[in-house]
């Protein structure tokens, strides 16, 4: 299974919009997209999970790795995730304390840079 990942600029943020299930088979696609965005000089990233229906531990792991990579590059990272079940999933392994989950892209890019 492949993810669809589109890149978009918005108010100085690079938005990666993800479409599909984020799991073992597809999570590496997102990892590559984050690495590429940072290599292209992005210093403020949004990962938009609005069109993601399923995330497993591999998907969560890639998001943690993305945060680590962004911090190492001095870049910002914000997540968009409105779906209640997925928000609960982050909370169930305390990742709601690691990430702020925004309800839409406007809320995420509204964070002061």
């Amino acid at each position: 299974m492949n993810l669809g990942i589109s890149r978009d600029e918005r108010d100085g943020w690079m938005v990666l919009a993800v479409l599909g299930d984020l799991e073992m088979g597809s999570a590496p696609d997102l990892k590559r997209a984050v690495i590429a965005a940072l290599a292209d000089g992005a210093d403020a990233l949004v990962i938009d999970l609005g069109a993601v229906g399923f995330i497993d531990s591999t998907g969560l792991g890639v998001l943690i790795g993305a945060l680590r990579r962004c911090r190492a590059n001095g870049a910002e990272l914000q997540l968009v995730c409105a779906e209640p079940r997925l928000r609960e999933l982050f909370a169930s392994v305390d990742l709601d304390r690691v990430f702020e989950l925004h309800v839409d892209v406007a809320a995420a890019t509204g964070v002061a840079l």
Partner: protein
Amino acid sequence: MNPESMSPSSAKAGDVVLEIPARAEYLELVRAVVAAAAHVDAGIHDDRIEDLRLAVSEATTNAIRAHATLGSDNRIEVRSNVDGDRIEVEVADRGPGFDPESIPDLPDADDPSRLLWESGLGIPLMRQLTDESAWESDNEGSVVRLIVYTSSYLRK
């Protein structure tokens, strides 16, 4: 219990058993089968089926990885049993096995070293999502048993 005890001959009458090649392409199929097997019993709350779906997906991901470390194309068996108010799913692999007791705890969410842990979330998630979870493992393979009670509507 070892993986042998999960061969079809010991199956209970109501079991749905799925055997797949140890490849990531089949994860979605495993999730669909578990959900469908659970849905056959109309009384089960959708939220609990969702929880189980994810937990079984995690167990199967680990099974696929375990086979990959052996370079093995041996298959993985996923057995679902719906019985009254409880669904039990067992995922059995023929991987190298591991010691379930020795899995380290993750650093606290506030600990900066938490970000070094891109893996290690699977077992904590399975524990969170199910009412009971148990691992048995030896050098012939591993079996995870996951149980949700259909009456426990809310996540723990």
